[in-house]
């Protein structure tokens, strides 16, 4: 026996009313939202241009220097140089820069929005109860469901890509901030209160600095998830390694798929190892002190 579903016309009209409500919304608010996000759009376009315009040797030099400052791990730097030279040799340099640009800007957006939300969740149990299921929803809802409305609102290209990536990648940074702050030793907070520190000072000097490694772990996860979303983002016109993967799928080019896939992996591993190795070094330094 079939489940007694509503009749077809009711369901159709329900679906159609969602469609028309959204269309109304897009007509009235589409331009407003596009304007609102135009600074991020500007940042994305120019950051990408900057990365592509930077000569490769300067890019390799600067990043090596940065990695040395952060990790003092020469093996990591060697790995970075080898994999980026590989990327350049197989002609993926520009696409890698495009991907790097959108992933980094998305991560920045996730951090700016995510850390305050994480703090709110740690401080307020009601917020915690409300936000947690929303995060679950954001990570499980199939991205195609919101890709179409996002493209209808913002058009093809980087902004809808950034939104799709951020929706999927923001939960870890929120979760980890929340957990990191909740794990801070209560005695320390009480001591600080007894010494007369204001709540904002306690947050900055004690809680955030003690939760630093956990939060960095969250940011690391966010970057990984952002990288995993670049293929989906390329389905709405974001150029980069993702569109090369799509190209290889569409045409059955196995070689191109392997090369562009491995380039994404290389980016992910280097960023992941850099943050981990930085965390280790920071721990050592703190314990020593």
């Amino acid at each position: 026996m079939n489940f007694p579903s509503l009749d077809r016309e009711t369901i159709t009209s329900f679906k159609k009313s969602i469609d028309s409500t959204f269309r109304e919304f897009a007509i009235n608010w589409g331009e407003w939202f596009t304007e609102l996000l135009s600074p991020i759009h500007w940042l994305l376009i120019h950051f990408e241009k900057l990365l592509i315009a930077t000569p490769w040797y300067i890019f390799l030099g600067l990043i090596s220097l940065l990695l040395w400052k952060a990790t003092q791990n020469w093996k990591l730097i060697l790995g970075f140089l080898i994999s980026f030279i590989f990327i350049g040799l197989v002609g993926m340099w520009d696409d890698t820069m495009r991907t790097l640009a959108i992933v980094l800007v998305s991560t920045l957006v996730c951090i700016v929005i995510g850390i305050p939300i994480g703090i709110l969740m740690a401080k307020n149990n009601l917020a915690h109860r409300i936000i947690l299921p929303i995060l679950d929803l954001m990570q499980t809802i199939p991205s195609f469901v919101y890709l179409i409305p996002v493209v209808m609102l913002f058009g093809l290209g980087k902004i809808p890509g950034l939104i799709a990536i951020s929706v999927f990648a923001i939960p870890p940074v929120i979760r980890f901030t929340n957990i990191g702050l909740r794990e801070v030793n209560k005695d320390l907070k009480e001591t600080a209160q007894a010494l007369g520190l204001k709540p904002l000072h306690i947050l900055r000097l004690i809680e955030l600095s003690l939760a630093r490694n956990v939060i960095l772990g969250g940011i690391n996860q966010t970057i990984m998830m952002a990288l995993s979303m670049v293929v989906i983002a390329s389905m709405i016109g974001v150029r980069g390694l993702g569109s090369q993967v799509m190209n290889s799928i569409g045409n059955g080019y196995l070689g191109l798929g392997v090369i562009s896939g491995l380039s994404i992996v290389a980016l992910a591993i280097i960023i992941d190892r850099a943050i981990q190795s930085h965390n280790k070094r920071y721990d050592k330094w703190r314990d020593y002190k």
């Binding site: 209808m152 290209g157 389905m235 016109g237 799509m246």
Partner: protein, 333 residues
């Protein structure tokens, strides 16, 4: 025992005879897309009631239908065949007379095909009718990432028409005219781009195909013609439509050719029926109207055929003899 054998044999005989008696003298292939199957039901109804033949509808895709027509001579009529998708075997059969293509050059669905489209309101407001008109106004179709340039949306990765679009982009020298390619990434992206732009009342220009529900719902016009017309098969087939960017270096501007659709029959059909199927054709815009109606009412092919016959007699009565028209009209009442 004998009794049983007799019964079984007689039952078998009766079944056999009744199938022979019921076997329709004209079998019509129902193709598995909306217009293809609607045309099959329209044909079936008109041939049955207008010309007095028994008809039967045989479902099947092109891959199964055409070989069956060649080897077994059945089904007898396939209504909306896309000529470009016929294989070598079918072309051979058309040459040696095993199959007959009865439609003239304009095709079953006139103006079906792919090409460049723009929203109708933009076209009317700025009086844009050809590709050249549109290319002169990149300011009406700003590219999302560089609003000083016009954006043309092309085919997604992996579609063979992507190369066609890029070759035409070069052939029309669009970069110099202030245009930039807008890559949709996927069909999802392509549809959402059109839908979003039209909903927001913004200009959009680029690739789509017709007849589709989508073109009807969004009210797009196209494929746009070009002032230079169709610049020859050599230019199109050997260069623009088949080669990648680098290999088709001196592509000439051209408009998109329309895709030919035709009706194919097996030999030996009643001449009156052949006369009917060879003139039966629908305009692209009317087909879109029908598709929209089907979509709105989620109608089956048979519903659509009956709706068409009841609502648009002015179209189908032109296809048939006055006598047949009278008979069909009488049966509809």
């Amino acid at each position: 025992m004998k009794y049983y054998v007799k019964t079984i044999i007689s039952v078998m005989l009766i079944t056999l005879m009744s199938t022979i008696a019921k076997a329709a003298d004209i079998k019509i292939a129902e193709l598995n897309w909306q217009t293809g199957s609607m045309i099959a039901y329209v044909d079936s109804y008109i041939i049955k009631h207008g010309y007095g033949h028994d008809t039967e509808i045989v479902p099947g895709g092109i891959d199964a239908t055409i070989p069956s027509m060649i080897t077994k001579g059945s089904p007898n009529i396939v209504g909306e065949m896309w000529i470009s998708s016929l294989g070598d075997e079918a072309l051979k059969a058309l040459n040696d007379g095993t199959l007959i293509s009865v439609t003239d050059d304009k095709g079953v669905i006139i103006g079906a095909g792919e090409g460049w489209f723009i929203p109708k309101d933009v076209a009317e407001k700025h009086n844009l009718t050809t590709i050249e008109d549109v290319l002169a106004r990149p300011d009406l179709f700003p590219h999302p990432e560089d609003s000083s340039k016009g954006g043309i949306v092309i085919c997604p990765e992996g579609w063979s028409c992507k190369a066609t679009n890029l070759n035409l982009f070069k052939a029309f020298d669009m970069e110099a005219k202030g245009w930039k390619v807008l890559e949709p990434g996927s069909q999802t992206g392509l549809n959402a781009h059109w839908e979003g732009s039209v909903t927001k009342g913004k200009g959009a220009f680029g690739y789509y195909w017709t007849p589709t529900v989508f073109v009807g719902r969004l009210d797009l016009v196209g494929p746009l013609p070009s002032e230079v017309g169709f610049a020859g098969d050599d230019n199109w087939t050997k260069c623009i439509a088949s080669q990648t960017d680098e290999l088709c270096a001196n592509a000439q501007p051209s408009q998109w050719p329309s895709s030919k659709t035709g009706t194919i029959v097996t030999p030996g059909l009643d001449q009156a029926v052949v006369d009917y199927v060879s003139v039966r054709s629908l305009s692209g815009s009317f087909t879109t109207t029908m598709l929209l109606w089907m979509d709105d009412n989620q109608a089956t092919a048979e519903d659509s055929a009956m709706y068409f016959l009841n609502t648009y007699p002015e179209i189908w009565t032109k296809w048939v003899t006055p006598k047949a028209a009278k008979k069909v009209k009488a049966s509809l009442k």
